[in-house]
């Protein structure tokens, strides 16, 4: 449509505002708490139903949980009488004095009491290492890997098992228990599985047939059997084949079993990362004259590992919880010390088992949640290059 004379004449009249009008606030139903509710919880019919169901679930679980863990809980007492309804004449929730009394056992197991400071030193050293690793502004961060892969393993091995020459009484690993064992097993698994997993993943994609074949057989064999079977083989069958004095320590056997098992899984996680790297990256690296190891170290692995962080941490969390399986071969990990403690007649009450399991749940929740938070923070840090 073309403009006529008449239209132009109309346009000459100044009815257009010279200043912008102040924006009106959105309607009440769209802002504040109400708006948030409408947008996030009640936007569609399906959403409303979901919200209601979840609210019902919370209403069903949370009050009972709070009542059991806090309101009705017993906080002080010397023995089972403190936690028995029939004695106390009131509803009884969690029996915390049981957990308090048993806590040293949960942490150290049967580690000899005069030697327990050594375990504390080990925990502190580990904590220092973790803080060093997590605190980005920490001094000399380049040495963290030396600390984690060389200093810490050697010093904690000497510290925990003992060395007569420097006055540390030897402590048999049969006496180790509780959180100590859980941390040691998980930590060895974590520290060993990543480098070994990377090597296996590279081996599986290698062009050398012998290396590839070995890696494929190892990965497929270990992934093909349940962890319980690996542990059973290590702890029950192995001593049958070697004389008593040659047979390795029971905990060591379990450690090796778990480390190899975790490595096989880690190898597949890393391989997925390697496959996601575009071919151009490899070709580019070769084009600028990098050798195999330089190409992997400088170009491919940094990118591959970055995209696999969620999966690596997922494997770690799984591994951390899998450590509980060592109880099957008679090693007293944290969960097993809880299991043993709830049998103690001194604290035999209807709520003792539940209390013990609640402690265990909280312990694993704290550790696994911490790991997953760390993974998300690292992801966010490394993903900066992708944000444009």
């Amino acid at each position: 449509m073309t403009m006529s004379e008449g239209d132009l004449a109309v346009a000459k009249i100044h009815f257009v505002r010279s200043a912008t009008i102040e924006a009106k606030p959105p309607p009440v139903s769209m802002r504040g708490a109400v708006g948030w509710l409408r947008e996030n919880l009640l936007s569609t019919k399906f959403n409303i139903i979901l919200t209601l169901l979840i609210a019902l679930l919370f209403a069903w679980i949370v009050p009972d949980l709070v009542r059991f863990l806090l309101i009705d809980a017993v906080w002080t007492g010397a023995d089972r009488d403190a936690c028995r309804e029939i004695v106390q004449n009131r509803a009884i929730g969690a029996c915390w004095p049981f957990a308090f009394e048993r806590w040293p056992y949960f942490v150290y197991g049967s580690y000899p009491i005069p030697e327990r400071w050594r375990v504390d030193v080990f925990f502190s050293m580990l904590a220092i290492g973790v803080v060093w690793l997590l605190w980005l502004g920490a001094p000399r961060r380049g040495l963290v890997s030396v600390y984690f892969f060389v200093v810490l393993p050697i010093s904690s091995f000497i510290l925990l098992t003992g060395w007569k020459a420097i006055g540390l009484q030897p402590v048999d690993t049969v006496l180790w228990g509780g959180i100590l064992v859980t941390i040691v097993v998980a930590w060895v698994g974590i520290v060993v599985s990543l480098p070994l997993g990377i090597l296996l993943a590279l081996g599986r994609r290698s062009h050398m047939p012998a290396v590839r074949l070995f890696s494929v057989i190892f990965i497929e064999f270990v992934r093909g059997v349940p962890l319980v079977t690996v542990l059973f083989m290590a702890s029950v069958m192995l001593p049958l084949f070697v004389p008593e004095h040659l047979s390795p320590d029971k905990l060591l056997r379990a450690l090796i079993g778990i480390a190899l098992f975790a490595s096989a899984y880690m190898a597949e996680v890393v391989r997925a990362g390697l496959q996601a790297i575009p071919k151009g990256q490899f070709e580019g690296a070769m084009a600028v004259g990098l050798g195999y190891s330089q190409m992997m170290r400088l170009i491919v692995l940094p990118q591959a590992l970055k995209i696999t962080i969620p999966n690596i941490v997922n494997t770690y969390i799984g591994l951390f919880k899998d450590t509980t399986l060592v109880f099957i071969v008679g090693i007293f990990d944290f969960l097993h010390t809880v299991e043993v403690s709830r049998i103690d007649p001194k604290w035999a009450t209807p709520v003792t088992s539940t209390t013990g399991y609640a402690v265990a749940a909280m312990f694993y929740l704290v550790f696994c949640y911490a790991m997953s938070r760390y993974a998300r923070a690292t992801e966010a840090r490394l993903a900066k290059s992708e944000r444009r």
């Binding site: 008679g330 043993v340 007649p345 035999a348």
Partner: protein
């Protein structure tokens, strides 16, 4: 393939032989007794809050260490599950098994075990509410019974009722913990497991005093320490350690009066404490082997009382485990 199996079999035989010969010497050289124990059974083998092992089976091992070394603490307790306990003994990982193991013919023969005796006569029993007003298991016709599934307990239960033409409604649960909770919640009239376990489980109930353990025992479960076939000297050491504990109770020798007893003129006691004869040397031990057992661990009655009897929380009736001259069947051949 056959050759590989033959080599493997040889390896097993070789390992078993090297492990079984001269256990006593191996233990002495090592300076430590390796004892296969339970670790999760109240009254028999369970670490306490300090991580120290306690229990009837645990004390059996301590007694052997006391007899050999004069020190009851030279024991390494290796916790074993019900599944791997026999392999651990056969492979030489432990020197003996004291893990509430029932003495049966097949274990004694085909599994290659030698049971040294019985340190606890157990058997399956029933627990009911007092309000049910039942005084005997024979009155349980038509009752519902909570039981852990897949155990010999479940089979014994059905055998017992079938043999007496009685009806029972068995309610099975995957774990003992669930079974006892269901019984406490009123799902069943009775709960059944081994009598020693009944007393431990009873403590878990909301009100233990509302429940009684019925007198009938419907199965034979003689529990005792076991060693490997093929080392008679070691078999003797373990066997006579148990016998010494039972004999000491019969002779009224306790950990409290043992020092006076070494001056006794009673010939039985003189033989026991080693002031007459060389019975310790015959076993390959010291003269004061029995004195050390009693001094560091105690006699059978003391050990029973402390771990499962009146002096413990379990308060299990001695029953069959009384001495033969006090109405029970605990009987030990004499030391002479």
């Amino acid at each position: 393939m056959n050759r590989i199996f033959a080599i493997l079999a040889l390896a097993v035989v070789f390992a078993a032989q090297s492990a079984s010969a001269q256990t006593l010497k191996t233990v002495k050289d090592r300076g430590m007794l390796n004892c296969g124990s339970n670790g999760t059974l109240a009254g028999f083998g369970l670490p306490d809050a300090q991580g120290k092992w306690t229990g009837l089976d645990v004390d059996s091992c301590r007694a052997i260490a006391a007899a050999i070394f004069g020190d009851a603490n030279k024991v390494k307790f290796v916790p074993l599950s019900a599944k791997d306990r026999f392999t651990a003994l056969q492979s030489g990982e432990v020197d003996l098994l004291a893990r509430n193991t029932t003495w049966t013919s097949s274990r004694d023969t085909s599994l290659g075990l030698n049971f040294v005796g019985v340190n606890y006569y157990d058997g399956q029993g029933f627990m009911v509410r007092k309000t049910l007003k039942v005084n005997s298991a024979l009155e349980l016709n038509g009752a519902s019974v909570c039981v852990q599934q897949g155990t010999t307990t479940e089979l014994n239960l059905s055998d017992f009722f079938r043999a007496r033409n009685m009806q029972a409604k068995t309610v099975t649960f995957a774990t003992a913990n669930e079974a006892i909770k269901a019984y406490d919640a009123g799902r069943c009239d009775a709960y059944t497991t081994d009598a020693s376990g009944l007393y431990a489980e009873r403590l878990r109930l909301a009100n233990a005093n509302d429940h009684i353990v019925l007198p009938e025992i419907i199965s034979k479960e003689p529990l005792g320490p076991a060693v490997r076939h093929g080392d008679d000297q070691w078999f003797d050491v373990v066997k006579w350690t148990l016998n010494a504990m039972i004999n000491a109770e019969e002779l009224n020798i306790t950990s409290k009066n043992i020092d006076e007893m070494t001056k006794s003129t009673n010939p039985d006691i003189k033989r026991f404490v080693g002031t007459e004869g060389n019975y310790g040397e015959q076993l390959g031990l010291g003269k004061d082997w029995a004195v050390n057992i009693i001094k560091h661990v105690g006699n059978y009655g003391e050990v029973f009382d402390r771990n499962v009897g009146a002096g413990s929380l379990l308060k299990i009736d001695r029953g069959l485990n009384k001495l033969w001259n006090k109405g029970g069947i605990q009987y030990a051949p004499p030391i002479r």
